[in-house]
């Protein structure tokens, strides 16, 4: 055991793993794409690399077989969470590609890779639709966005339904919180659970005062 004084990413990583789980569930339950958790994800990735090294070092040592199995199990769990996180985001990005690329404030929430994927995916889909439907749409994707954006109703652009109801748990006392446009408020105390329209939760979710369920 002495050979692994630092081999406890489990303990130091516990909170990060927990945070990733919360980020994943938030992302799954929220109708719109949320801010990419860049710092958290790079810490998790570093922990995965480290844990892989440790498991590799234990290979062939019979005494450490159990520990190795435990480490492998933990690694598979973290990888699973990370894959889910990337996956659920990518699905939303593809579904709402035009809306996201068209809205600077939303586009900012993507990682660089997601941003690149969104643009290329939008090109792919746009080109396909153009050729398949045979309509004259402008070549460059930017003008494609602009044309779609210029359409007064934009009703052909799929966008997330921010009025959707979601379950949330309050993580810290926030006092009276506005819950609709009519000025109604609700008392948000730690550990309260609400079923509520998503929109008024947006700022609280970004600040980490609530998590979705």
């Amino acid at each position: 055991m002495d050979a692994f004084p630092e081999a406890t990413p489990g303990t130091s990583g516990r909170s990060d793993q927990e945070a990733l789980k919360i980020a994943l569930i938030n992302e799954k339950s929220s109708p719109e794409i949320l801010m990419f958790q860049e710092d958290l994800v790079s810490r998790i990735e570093a922990q995965i690399d480290y844990q892989e090294e440790q498991i590799e070092l234990m290979r062939g040592n019979q005494d450490l077989e159990l520990l190795r199995t435990i480490f492998t199990t933990e690694l598979a769990r973290v990888r699973y969470l990370l894959r889910c996180y990337y996956r659920v985001r990518l699905h939303k990005i593809e579904e709402y590609a035009m809306h996201i690329l068209d809205t600077a404030e939303v586009k900012e929430r993507l990682s660089d890779r997601e941003d690149a994927h969104a643009q290329e995916f939008f090109m792919l889909q746009g080109t396909h639709l153009k050729m398949a439907v045979g309509r004259q749409l402008p070549e460059a994707f930017s003008s494609l966005v602009r044309q779609a954006a210029a359409h007064p109703e934009k009703d052909m652009v799929p966008r997330p339904d921010l009025d959707k109801h979601v379950f949330c748990r309050v993580l810290e006392d926030r006092g009276q919180v506005p819950v609709d446009d009519a000025g109604n408020t609700a008392q948000f105390n730690k550990d309260d659970v609400f079923v509520i329209r998503y929109q008024p939760l947006q700022p609280l979710l970004a600040e980490g005062s609530v998590c979705l369920l």
């Binding site: 699973y80 990370l82 894959r83 990337y86 996956r87 994927h117 792919l124 398949a132 439907v133």
Partner: protein, 165 residues
């Protein structure tokens, strides 16, 4: 007249189960397109979009297109699938461009990291993190779950335990 045809065209796709893509009805589609107005264009786009959504879904669940689906696609749609495949591969690749994880792998939460599988067809030797394994038809092995999953999707292996995938 053609509006009815446009509507039926969309109905045709939507009425099929999600894992089926009906034959590409080029003639009906062209008829609809020739008669261009906003309404038709919208239905045409819905029709195309529903089909591309299903093509994407196949990339996530099967990795490649089963023959019975491939036969029902237009040349453009085959091209679309190839393009989407390329995009997704790039996003999942290691290095600067991708996240370095196969996002289509093992969509169920891991329980045991190892899983028992049976080999469905000869596949030669494969290097797993647990060691080298010769995949011979009919044999069963204990393999790391997330590494076995892609081969299950390809039809090389099947899970033996009652675990869903």
């Amino acid at each position: 007249m053609f509006a009815k045809q446009a509507f039926e065209l969309v109905q045709e796709v939507l009425s099929c189960p999600k894992d089926v893509i009906p034959p590409y009805n080029d003639e009906a589609f062209r008829n609809v397109i020739d008669e261009v107005n906003m309404q038709h264009e919208r239905l045409a786009a819905v029709f195309q979009r529903e089909r591309t959504d299903r093509l994407q879904e196949f990339r996530w669940t099967h990795r490649s297109l089963p023959a019975h689906v491939q036969n029902n696609l237009s040349p453009l749609e085959l091209q679309y699938f190839a393009g989407y495949d390329q995009l997704l591969n790039k996003y999942m690749r290691s290095g600067r461009l991708g996240v370095g994880l196969d996002l289509t792998a093992d969509p169920t939460p891991p329980e045991d990291p190892f899983v028992q599988v049976r080999v469905l067809r000869d596949y030669g030797e494969v290097m797993f993190s647990s060691g080298k394994v010769a995949l011979q038809r009919g044999k069963s092995h204990w393999l790391p779950r997330d590494e076995a999953h892609p081969l299950v999707m390809d039809g090389v292996l099947e899970f033996l335990a009652a675990t869903s995938c």
